[in-house]
């Protein structure tokens, strides 16, 4: 049964017919935002975002959230870019754009819980990266946001089977990827690898989507994968776990991701995990509020 489901998913992913197209604004924005800082121009970003009025409104909402560290209210996209800087603005624009990737027919599973997890994980990744002196917190944010993109693919191409896996995970208190593997023969990391490659995301995003449940299988971007893996786990244990409460105890310092990341970030040894966990609790309300406000399915 699970082999059949797996084959069907792989076939559908191969043709990509049931998958959504990326929002028109997302691709040029991502390309543009990947340019070196010195080549970015304020007006071009403002123009790119302002082309889509709904996107512009969402970006302002997000830019004005304490989660993005604003100090003064931004009334226009230009204000927001000036207040937040190019990198944070990229975080905002990409977050708002990907939120529209979910299907409107949800087969009984509320897609907002997945976006809450992704946005929460992105924020945790960025703060974690800053806290341990990881070289690129902006990249960590982006990878945190997109690490579960395979779940969105499952919602499009195998909604019934995926919803059944979610139900089992909720009932058993088990991790979602294990339940997906049991009932569908494939989990969202494998799907995420295929779909993010198809959408031509960068290599690091693809590897994070593919390996975040098994960081030791990563090769080129091991520390980034490890960072997202630990952040993902922390979110799942802190009430931002796709609406699933995993009934288990974890010691983050025993996770493979910890050993991998400590090789590159010696500061990790002195990291205050307890305080970081309490800080994360402080985000949750705002993450719920933002996602419920900004979520718009296709």
């Amino acid at each position: 049964m699970s082999q059949q489901v797996r084959d069907t998913i792989l076939r559908k992913l191969d043709t990509f017919q049931e998958m959504p197209t990326l929002p028109v604004s997302l691709v040029p924005l991502l390309r543009y935002m990947e340019k070196p800082m010195e080549q970015m121009e304020l007006q071009q970003i403002v123009d790119l975002v302002s082309k889509d009025k709904a996107l512009a409104a969402q970006c302002l909402h997000m830019a004005n959230s304490p989660l993005f560290g604003r100090r003064q209210a931004a009334q226009t996209i230009r204000d927001a870019v000036v207040a937040l800087g190019f990198q944070r603005m990229r975080d905002v624009v990409v977050s708002c754009s990907v939120l529209s990737l979910s299907p409107s027919d949800n087969h009984g599973v509320d897609p907002t819980v997945f976006w809450e997890h992704s946005l929460g994980c992105a924020l945790v990744c960025r703060q974690f990266a800053s806290g341990i002196g990881f070289e690129d917190p902006g990249k960590a944010y982006l990878c945190g946001l997109l690490h579960d993109i395979g779940i969105i693919a499952h919602l499009w191409i195998a909604p019934r089977e995926f919803c059944s896996a979610v139900e089992h995970a909720r009932k058993d208190g088990s991790p979602l990827h294990e339940m997906e593997l049991n009932s569908m023969g494939i989990h969202h990391a494998e799907t995420g690898k295929l779909v993010s490659a198809r959408w031509k995301f960068s290599d690091d995003v693809i590897e994070v989507a593919a390996c975040h449940h098994d960081p030791s299988s990563a090769s080129a971007h091991r520390s980034l994968v490890a960072l997202v893996s630990l952040s993902d786990m922390l979110c799942r244990m802190s009430g931002l776990g796709h609406g699933i409460t995993e009934s288990r105890q974890i010691d983050l310092l025993e996770e493979p991701g910890f050993a991998l990341l400590s090789q590159e970030c010696p500061n990790l040894k002195n990291f205050d995990w307890a305080k970081f966990t309490f800080q994360l609790e402080g985000y949750m309300e705002e993450v719920h509020r933002l996602v419920s406000l900004l979520y718009r399915p296709q």
Binding site: K53, A56, A57, Q58, L60, H61, N64, S65, P66, R71, A73, A74, Q75, T76, M233, L234, M237, S238, G239, T245, E246, S247, R248, Q249, I250, D251, L252, L253, E254, A259, D272, W273, A274, K275, T277, F278, Q279, L280, E281, G282, Y283, M284, E285, E286, R289
Partner: protein, 294 residues
């Protein structure tokens, strides 16, 4: 939704915290090990405001000075901590922690205890105040006697420094505020009406052994041994660094090799002890005595 309305609603929902309030938050974490996340800063502000009214202080900056450089800083810190923890005690105060104990920790402990061929559990509520915490634990254990704890016995030691609190606990009568989180099932099963209050069942009382103990009493602390779990919530925040380290060392020595230490919500051992492992359970954390596998 227009861009402008989106913006104004977002602006209404957020005001950047006063930088001195953030400093006060950090100071409390550094000194007492209790952290107020951003969504709890408003509550901390209210507590500070109460103290500022008493001291006739107008700004957070001046209050921060009181907590750091003025001659009253030690006394003021204790007064603020009292404000922070006031009204905290109630039955089922920290539901995720209770769920973690019942569904995750208890099975692990039973597995280890069974290896020792001792079908008996010892739990200590250190700083039990008026008894809500040990009675909550006791009710949870009693709920398990037909299933996980079939054939097991258990005892709950409950200590506090304050004689008046202990008398209240032994009396076992609680008002509506203390029982505000009490699930209906537990109310019906383990309490009887006593005027407007609720009286805890005698059977529950029999499992809990209340006594007076100062956690800094080195001699008496040596007798707290063979424990499976210690709960010490919002107590260590009042201790200075050295005393805190000593108390934690006693906890470590008193716990069995598989033992667990639970602190209050948002309370941390960072910088106090490296002997315990921090573990995460759903929406709660705990400290475990055992060594890491790596």
């Amino acid at each position: 939704m227009t861009v402008l309305s989106a913006t104004s609603r977002a602006v209404e929902s957020f005001a950047a915290p006063d930088p001195f309030m953030v400093r006060i938050r950090d100071l409390i974490y550094q000194v007492a090990g209790i952290f107020h996340a951003d969504n709890k800063l408003r509550a901390l502000e209210e507590r500070c405001m109460r103290r500022m009214q008493v001291l006739a202080i107008k700004t957070y900056r001046d209050y921060y000075d009181c907590l750091t450089v003025k001659s009253i800083r030690q006394a003021e810190l204790v007064a603020l901590l009292n404000e922070i923890t006031i009204g905290e005690t109630c039955f089922f105060r920290n539901q995720p922690q209770i769920d973690g104990i019942r569904n995750i920790v208890l099975p692990k402990i039973l597995e280890q205890r069974a290896k020792l061929s001792l079908r008996h559990l010892r739990i200590w509520s250190a700083g039990c105040s008026t008894g809500e915490e040990p009675y909550t634990l006791c009710m949870i254990m009693l709920e398990e006697t037909a299933t996980r704890l079939k054939g097991w016995t258990f005892e709950i030691l409950a200590t506090d420094l304050n004689e008046r609190s202990l008398n209240h606990a032994k009396n076992g009568v609680y008002n509506a505020y203390s029982t505000r989180n009490l699930p209906a099932l537990f109310r019906e099963k383990y309490f009887a009406a006593n005027g407007n209050d609720l009286q805890i069942d005698r059977n529950v009382k029999n499992y809990v052994n209340f006594s007076r103990l100062n956690l800094t009493d080195e001699t008496k602390m040596l007798f707290m041994k063979g424990l499976d779990m210690i709960l010490c919530c919002n107590v260590l925040i009042y201790f200075d660094g050295a005393s805190k380290k000593r108390v934690i060392q006693h906890f470590y020595n008193g716990l069995l090799p598989h033992g667990y230490l639970f602190l209050g919500h948002s309370e941390s051992l960072y910088g106090v002890s490296e002997d315990f492992r921090l573990v995460h359970m759903p929406s709660s954390t705990a400290y475990v005595k055992g060594k890491r596998n790596v």
